[in-house]
């Protein structure tokens, strides 16, 4: 099973996503602060990052770019409540595998995560 990082400035959102994916057998690391998440990725490469776009200091797009630099093989799913064509475009160009709109239901999330991780192998 995979190592997954979840970053969202809303603590409850990280817990919810964490629960769903842990139940699927993945190891999930949740963060609400971008700095801590970045530090973690640098020390501990993950298979997949699920990133919110509206964060406290940076944007999730910026975080994606930095994480890809630290760990180029990492997959990424962007998750946002404020979708725009512009952020979608930037995220995909930086190498995100998916760009999803909140609220996302459990089945869709499980499905997307599975697909992205499978694409890896």
């Amino acid at each position: 099973m995979a190592e997954i990082l979840v970053l969202d400035d809303v603590f409850d959102a990280t817990v919810l996503v964490g629960k769903i994916l842990t139940r699927k057998g993945h190891t999930v690391h949740t963060f609400t602060e971008e700095d801590a998440a970045l530090e973690f990725v640098k020390a501990h490469p993950v298979d997949l990052a699920i990133l919110d776009i509206k964060l406290q200091k940076m944007s999730g797009i910026e975080v994606l770019g930095l994480m890809k630099q630290a760990c180029p093989t990492m997959h990424a799913i962007m998750l946002t409540g404020y979708p725009t064509v512009e952020t979608a475009r930037e995220a995909m160009q930086l190498g995100a595998d998916e760009y999803c709109v909140k609220p996302i239901d459990k089945d869709e999330l499980e499905d997307k995560v599975e697909k992205v991780l499978k694409g890896k192998k």
Partner: protein
């Protein structure tokens, strides 16, 4: 198919059913970007243009009657997957953008957009296309190495094609040809091609390296002599012009021949006959003369070192060999060709270049032209220690450091106070020692290999090592 011209034209195809939008974009790309732009009002027309014109970048609207932009993009990929496509839309949805980018669309813009951002995106897309094509060409060559081989000329660049075309047209005639070009551009290869394609091909071409021979010897070599013409002429000697009868003679480095011989050469070209030394009779010869030079003959004429009338006789037609800088697009082809050649020659069929080494070869400027590139690859294949040749094995930096100029000046100043024999001894000793040390350094102390590189016998090299007391153990680590 998919011919990458590499001629520097940068083509953008704009597809949109709204004429105003199309024109606006086309004008922007032509005026601000300097691109070649064609327009199409539908995906169908766009595909026809794309197939014939092979644009580098395609800018397309999504919502068009008939084929939509996404379908159009898919069909473009079938024509040539290296074209980079940018999609524009007035009714962009996030899903559409995500899907498009996932399937390989290069960029996605929502109208109205900023002109600078479009220009920037097109420029980056152009670069991506170029890289993809360069890469594809290199890999195609590995499958199909025979392409672009013309009497020893490897390449498809327009400049080289021009030369090949000219040679082909000149070959059947008996016209005198002057081949000019920098050192290492293949002047002799061009002369051979001329000879091989001519009606004289059945006979051996005679090549004379003019500066290699001293004045009086050059003269007797070219025109021959009779027994008794001078002391030591104990029998008749047939000159090279007679030997080249009904064939071709190549006068290599013509600019370096002494004026006295220039006069005699002029006579051969004018009268088509030669007069051997010590003979009053002239011998008619049927020789096609090809001359080559890398020097500025016009400057030599101005200084009075080269006869103007000879120049005009030689310069009936000039073939100008392109420098490697002018035919950079052929470098991948050349790399592949030489790698293949030396792999066979040195029986190392598995050897490959690392990506880094290829990049280094592709980017470097080659002052010594094709010859320098060839020698670099020759050396790398021979000396490369692993299964791949990496950038270190190319030894390109080492080369610069041991350029001869770095040594010579120093040596001569230091020996000026000695007598001739002593000075020669000292310079020779220093030269031999540093030359052999460098040669052994390159082969890590392998004597046989070093001897082969220096073009000498192993025993001879060992004799020199003993004489100059070079310890071989210093190089073996």
């Amino acid at each position: 198919m998919n011919e990458w011209t590499g001629d520097g034209s940068r083509r953008v195809l704009v597809v949109d059913d709204e004429p105003d939008m199309r024109r606006l974009l086309a004008r922007l790309l032509v005026k601000k970007g300097g691109y070649d732009v064609l327009e199409a009002d539908s995906g169908g027309v766009g595909l026809v243009i794309a197939r014939d014109w092979l644009p580098d970048v395609v800018l397309t609207d999504v919502k068009m009657p008939g084929m939509d932009g996404v379908e159009f993009f898919r069909r473009l990929q079938d024509i040539d997957p290296t074209m980079s496509t940018i999609i524009m839309t007035g009714y962009g949805t996030v899903e559409m953008a995500v899907e498009a980018l996932k399937t390989g669309v290069y960029d996605f813009f929502q109208k109205p957009f900023d002109n600078d951002r479009i220009l920037h995106a097109v420029a980056r897309a152009m670069e991506r296309t170029w890289l993809l094509r360069e890469n594809r060409r290199f890999h195609e060559l590995q499958k199909n190495p025979e392409r672009g081989d013309f009497f020893g000329f490897i390449g498809n660049a327009p400049r080289l094609r021009e030369v090949e075309d000219l040679l082909q047209r000149l070959a059947p005639s008996d016209m005198t040809v002057l081949i000019r070009g920098e050192s290492g551009t293949g002047k002799e290869v061009a002369a051979r091609a001329l000879h091989a394609m001519s009606g004289r091909a059945g006979r051996r071409m005679v090549t004379v390296n003019c500066p290699a021979l001293p004045e009086n010897i050059l003269e007797s070599e070219l025109f021959g002599y009779c027994r008794g013409a001078f002391t030591g002429a104990d029998r008749d000697k047939v000159g090279l012009f007679v030997e080249a009868h009904r064939s071709t003679i190549l006068l290599d480095e013509i600019a370096d021949i002494p004026v006295s011989i220039q006069t005699k050469l002029l006579r051969v070209l004018q009268e088509k006959e030669i007069q051997p030394l010590g003979q009053t009779r002239t011998i008619p010869v049927d020789v096609r003369v090809v001359a080559s030079t890398n020097q500025d003959i016009e400057a030599k004429i101005a200084r009075g070192e080269f006869r103007e009338d000879l120049f005009y006789r030689l310069n009936v037609v000039t073939v100008r060999m392109p420098s490697l800088e002018e035919i950079r697009s052929d470098i991948p082809l050349l790399i592949h060709h030489f790698l293949r050649k030396y792999r066979i020659e040195y029986e190392r069929p598995e050897l490959e270049f690392s990506e880094e080494a290829i990049q280094m070869l592709l980017r470097r400027s080659w002052r010594g032209n094709v010859r320098e590139l060839q020698n670099t690859i020759n050396r790398a294949v021979l000396l490369g220690s692993g299964a791949t040749i990496d950038s270190k094995d190319l030894r390109l930096d080492v080369e610069v450091q041991c350029s001869p100029e770095a040594h010579s000046g120093l040596c001569f100043d230091q020996v000026q106070h000695l007598d001739y024999a002593g000075a020669k001894e000292k310079v020779l000793k220093e030269f031999t020692a540093s030359y052999l040390q460098a040669a052994l350094g390159r082969t890590k102390g392998n004597i046989s290999l070093a001897a082969r590189n220096c073009g000498m016998e192993r025993q001879a090299l060992q004799r020199l090592l003993r004489r100059y007391q070079i310890a071989i153990s210093d190089f073996r680590s």
